[in-house]
Structures are given as C-alpha cells and as structure tokens.
C-alpha cells in the first residue's frame, strides 16, 4: 500500500494490486482543508497505518483532532448483535447468563 500527495494537497492511496487509487482525499474527513503538503502527508501516514497495522488508531477526522482508537473486538461483537435488535444484556438473558 502506498500514497502520494499532489501539488493541490490531495492524497491518493493505492493498494498493492489495482492500478486505480482506492482513496481520493482532497481534505480531512470532516471537510477541514489540508493547508499544506506536509499536513496532507501526516494525515496520509496515519491513514496508511490505520489500514495496515491492526493496533494503529484511526486517522484524525479533522484539523487539530487526535487519532481515535479503533473499535475493540467487544464493541464489534455488540455491533453485530445490534443488527438483529439484541443488546448484550438481552443476549445474556436468552442464554441464561444474567443470573
């Protein structure tokens, strides 16, 4: 996986197999502008690590924001449960584990 930042401070990112970039990022995710090439490169490096390193945090969503940790496996499991309308507490009840 690699990235490039062009003269307009736009980040493009490629995976290791496709010729087309999978990411075209002209600004921070929240719409804040990349004011310098260095700023865009810093964000791109965070994004690269987010996508390639399991423990790495998520890239900052905007100017001045800190990287946020990824959801934990427990949070991911709770998310799957919520799709079928069950909370963790309700699942425990169904399984007889709430006593």
């Amino acid at each position: 996986m690699r990235y490039e930042v062009n003269q307009d401070n736009v980040v493009h990112m490629w995976d290791d197999v496709n010729p087309e970039p999978f990411l075209f990022q002209p600004h921070y995710p929240n719409g804040d502008s990349f004011d310098t090439q260095e700023e865009a490169e810093t964000w791109a490096q965070f994004k690269l690590e987010e996508l390639t390193i399991k423990e790495a945090p998520q890239a900052p969503i905007g100017k001045g924001f800190d990287p946020e940790p990824k959801p934990t496996p427990l949070q991911a499991a709770e998310l799957k449960l919520s799709r079928i309308g069950l909370s963790t507490a309700e699942l425990k009840t169904l399984l007889g584990l709430d006593g």
């Binding site: 990022q25 994004k47 919520s82």
Partner: protein
C-alpha cells in the same frame, strides 16, 4: 488488473482463485475500502448519486461515484444498523427505534419512526423508502418518501421478511408458502397473494427485466423462479456454507447475484445458479441502479470486490 477469480460462461467450465478469465465469464476484482464496512446494507444514491458505505454506530463513512475510488468523510451522526438510498434523493439509515436521513451522506437529520421494534428491513422501493419492522410477537410496516416522516402501513399484511424488486415488492411470512406482492408503491392499496412451491423460510428475491423473471430464495438452498410472479418453478440452489444471511441484487442487466456466508451465487438466466466460494465471511451483493457494476462487500472488512455483468 488483478483477477481474483473467474467463472467461465454458461458452461461453467471451471473457476477458482487466480484463474484466467474466459470469454463471457464473470470476473471479480478484489479492492480496498478506506473504512471498515460493517453495515447490513450499502447503497448508491443520495443527491449526488454516490455509493455510501460505513459502519453501524460509527460516523466514519466513505463515498464513491464509481465504486472504486473513495473519499472518506465524517457524518454528523452515526449510521444505524441498515442503510438505503433513493437516487437523486436521500440516504436513510435506521434501526428499530431511530431513523435518520441525509442528502449527501455527511449531514444527517433524525426522524421518528412510526413503529419501534426489531427491524428486519429497510429498502428503497420505486418512489418511497419502506421500512419494515418486526417485533417478537407482532409485525408492522411503515414508509417514508424522504426519511423525514413515516406513515403507518401496518394494514398491509406484512408478517415476515420481504424484498424489493424494480416494479414490485414482496412480503414473505416466515416459514410459509404464501407471499404478498405489491405493485402500487404510492397507496399500498392492493396486493396479490400467491403461493410458492413449498413451505420455506423465504428470505428475499429479485426481478431482472432482461430475463423477465422473478427469483426468490430461502435460507437453506431452495429457490424458485417465475415469469409472471404467479406460477413458480422450484429449483435447488448451491448451498453456501452457513447460508444464514443473504441479499439479492437486481439490475435489469441479465444477472442475479445473491450474497451469503462464505461466498455468493449468481445466475444469468434465473434458472441455474453457480456458487462462487470466497474467503470466510458474510457477503452482501448490490448492483448500482445504473446497472454498470456490482459490489460484493465482506462484512467487518476493508476488502471488497467489484464485477460487471458476464
């Protein structure tokens, strides 16, 4: 371009990872998402007609005009457990008790569903966004044209899973032979009740205008097709490992795709389906409404696949 798998045309001469594409074969390309996909649904639509993906409970989204190159964005509110979209209209996300809508996918406004309960369905249907909620002891439906206000549709005999097609909407009672087909999305005033070939947990279906056939499928490898939505022929589908969750895609482009656990099924004639085995995971297939490309998303992953009609 990396070919990850190919299925030779009608004769299905062979398929496998890394195979060379054959003339008329289905070719999938493995690609990368910039955010983890975790929604039940993902759609192309909204005011700019973009693909929009994300994770339930997260404000991290990505949009794309071609399904290949994505731009990440931050939504004003987290996406919910399902998402649907109206072309040149709104995106709508909902769970059992909450709904939100957005024109571009970034700024979301909350709306109040008519019904609350475990949601089984959220889908755009030819002019209105339909939301079907199913409770443990009863079921109800509601609809909304923009996602902002919701109208009670509980009198429409919905009791189970249902699925949208281009010009009609099916309601499937759980573990039954009967189904309900609606063709009037404005008033929901009338429906046709029909009978499927056997008692199954019918899960969904699709209609393709090129083939002129409906296809429905259950959760354990049974399918049926029909040219008129009335008379059905039962078929046996290749079994997907687990086959616990499936979605269908309709394009009007001569191809049906059914995603499932550890793979997906596809057919170009509605009568014979081929199984494509994929790495372990749950897969969800979706055509864009312009019928130019389908996307097969892998749950909880940044890996996905694109393909075009064979």
């Amino acid at each position: 371009m990396p070919i990850i798998e190919t299925l030779a045309g009608a004769s299905a001469k062979g398929y496998g990872w890394g195979a060379t594409p054959a003339a008329g074969g289905l070719t999938l390309t493995q690609r990368t998402l910039p955010v983890t996909y975790n929604l039940i649904g993902y759609q192309k639509g909204g005011s700019s007609d973009l693909w929009l993906i994300g994770s339930a409970g997260s404000t991290s989204i990505a949009t794309s005009s071609d399904g290949i190159t994505w731009t990440t964005a931050t939504a004003s509110q987290a996406l919910l457990s399902a998402i649907s979209a109206k072309p040149a209209g709104q995106y709508v996300t909902a769970d059992g008790s909450t709904a939100r809508y957005s024109a571009a996918g970034t700024t979301w406004t909350s709306s109040t569903p008519f019904w609350t309960g475990s949601m089984t369905f959220l889908r755009y249907w030819g002019g209105a966004v339909l939301s079907h909620f199913k409770k443990l002891t009863s079921s109800a439906a509601e609809s909304s044209s923009t996602g902002s206000t919701w109208t009670n549709r509980s009198g429409t005999n919905y009791t189970g899973y249902d699925q949208v097609n281009n010009g009609s909407l099916f309601g499937f009672p759980a573990y039954a032979t009967s189904y309900f087909m609606y063709t009037d999305n404005a008033s929901w005033a009338s429906f046709t009740q029909g009978t499927l070939p056997s008692t199954k947990n019918w899960l969904g279906g699709a209609y393709d205008s090129t083939n002129g056939k409906f296809v429905v499928f259950d959760d354990s490898g049974t399918g049926a097709y029909s040219s008129n939505g009335t008379s059905w022929t039962q078929i046996t589908l290749p079994t997907l490992s687990g086959y616990t969750y499936a979605s269908s895609s309709d394009g009007g482009n001569g191809c049906y795709v059914i995603g499932g656990s550890s793979g997906y099924l596809y057919s170009t004639d509605a009568t014979t389906f081929k199984k494509i085995t994929m790495p372990t995971g749950d897969y969800y297939a979706q055509y864009d409404l312009a019928n130019t490309r389908f996307l097969i998303m892998k749950s909880a992953s940044t890996t996905y696949y694109t393909g075009v009609k064979p």
